[in-house]
Symmetry: C2
């Protein structure tokens, strides 16, 4: 089957571009002695998680226990869940996972650690726990070095837990600030006799200067596998590097300068980017997807010399690719213009 034979809207993933994006990132990590632990939230596909590990990643990152279960079922063996996991149901599932893969998690509160300590009690197979640090993102994470030490001690004191190190999801573009925060924490932990094995940093936006956070031992980029308009706007590669596109059909041309495509917010997601519009139309780079309804994209053709006709198919690079993956039950892998495989997005909507 050829790409243009697909019913629309449909996701088309260029395998050669995926491989190139993965190779480039792995080389960057290797050059700087950083371990790579890709975040699978972007693709949610066992095929690509395994490919990332085969190319040199030390393991993967999942945001949800349910995602980790899917990846463990698919043969992934080293999974980090950088999340506060709470409640008996999730902790029991986490314990079951811990029995079959190398697992690690985070905590930013005594409550979270107490939950882990209650469910994980085997000193022979302790659960590694990293303390999450808010280095400026303003999301989760402890606010001070003193809190880091307090929580690390609590972890260290629990029979079935092991203090593994620090984790942060950093603010974009502030590596010096992140480095200072983490270095202070490591020094304070050292004074308390607590060794830091792992310092896990994250995010695709700053991945290509991840080495500036010198205390980090590993990085967890997600979006880099596909890239998207947002990554390109941040200066990472070009639109040609974007491996993930949504194929859509022009279903209406109500006026000379308006086209309607069959991809709306349920096909492209509603995330905005620091560039105009709701996606980049590859064949009509001057077109602007000015608004989305749920199943309609409203395209302004004012700046286009050539204009599409009703029935034409176009490919769209999303603003932010991660929530788009999550909207499709299946995606199509292509080599050149041939569809070589249709993959179920196995970890899609594993919300718990």
């Amino acid at each position: 089957m050829r790409i243009l034979d697909l019913e629309t809207p449909a996701v088309v993933i260029d395998l050669a571009k995926v491989r190139a994006n993965l190779a480039r990132a792995q080389a960057h990590a290797d050059t700087h002695g950083l371990k790579l632990r890709p975040h699978i939230k972007t693709h949610k596909l066992p095929l690509f998680a395994n490919m990332q590990c085969e190319m040199g990643a030390i393991g993967i990152t999942c945001q949800k226990v349910g995602e980790a279960e899917v990846m463990a079922d698919a043969g992934l063996t080293d999974i980090f869940i950088p999340y506060n996991i709470l409640g008996a149901a999730k902790l029991n599932r986490l314990l079951a996972l811990h029995k079959r893969v190398t697992l690690s998690v985070t905590a930013d509160s005594a409550v979270t650690i107490a939950g882990y300590a209650k469910h994980f009690t085997d000193p022979e197979r302790p659960l590694p726990v990293l303390v999450e640090c808010d280095t400026g993102m303003g999301r989760c994470g402890v606010q001070t070095v003193e809190e880091v030490v307090t929580l690390a001690k609590q972890i260290d004191a629990a029979t079935g837990l092991r203090f593994e190190g620090l984790m942060t999801y950093p603010p974009r573009g502030e590596p010096e600030k992140v480095e200072r925060w983490l270095a202070d924490a490591i020094a304070a932990l050292g004074e308390s006799g607590l060794a830091v094995n792992t310092v896990s940093n994250g995010g695709s936006p700053d991945f290509y200067r991840a080495e500036q956070v010198t205390s980090a031992t590993e990085h967890r980029p997600g979006t880099y596998i596909y890239s998207d308009r947002m990554q390109v706007a941040f200066g990472h590669g070009t639109l040609e590097d974007c491996a993930f596109t949504v194929l859509a059909t022009v279903v209406s041309r109500p006026t000379d300068n308006r086209a309607i495509i069959d991809a709306g917010s349920k096909a492209l997601a509603a995330d905005t980017a620091p560039v105009p519009g709701h996606g980049h139309i590859v064949e009509y780079p001057d077109a602007v997807i000015g608004a989305l309804s749920e199943e309609h994209g409203i395209v302004d053709l004012s700046n286009c010399a050539a204009k599409p006709e009703i029935g034409d198919k176009v490919r769209i690079i999303p603003n932010h690719v991660c929530p788009v993956s999550n909207l499709y039950d299946a995606v199509n892998i292509v080599e050149g213009d041939r569809v070589t495989e249709t993959l179920v997005v196995a970890a899609r909507s594993r919300l718990t």
Copy 2:
């Protein structure tokens, strides 16, 4: 099972509120002699589509052929797809559907009508086609009354098609303008000897003044079944009428005025509303969900007298409920605080 026993994030739908919302809308339609043809894009559940019809709706509206297939499988018998359906694959599926349910569709171009005419050729069972009119929304639809007449004649001339009438998705708050547009078109069609059986108007925002568009014979509201913050902001009922909430857990309290919940853009969708924040927290009405990551909601508690603790569960009314439904494989029906049923969102992600 009680609501608070659900793993989070989870969708909780209050059955009594659904029934009340449906009854109120049906009564409004009945009072004004309007037929009700609810849009199932909001709930994507056969149970509720059937309930809508049992309460008086004449049929349902689907936006995608795939949604219509699911609903036909579930026993729905009268389905309108107000969309330009293009391409041999979709048209063959449409033909198969036409053989088992009462189907109708729209077109706003000669190209779309030619596609219908090529696939539907049985004069004994013609496909009813409505001409879509752009009455001011600026999405699909013909721009002039002359185009309406031209397309209606093209439909009328096709052996296997029947000109059924007009369809519009109107601009919000401009019923006079919509009425004028449609009345002009009906008059012009009359002069050409073309009868208009159905004039289908749409949208929840203006449903409670739908009667102001006097030429409309039916209305296609969607969101009214659940309601959401956007509908309340538009003046339709109160937050207490909102039947659909997302149950989430507070997973972190990094600072005195910040809480993090385990519902981000993959659980609440990213649509904005004309009110601050990304959803209304029922238990903490003064809290503001100021930002969403994919799996984190960042909540500002500055204005809250009481504040939640880590592990607490809260219920969130979404800004726009339709894309939220679409993120979950299953939803939970509740009566009081008891979960009575968990339903697969059968028409979710039927994108083609």
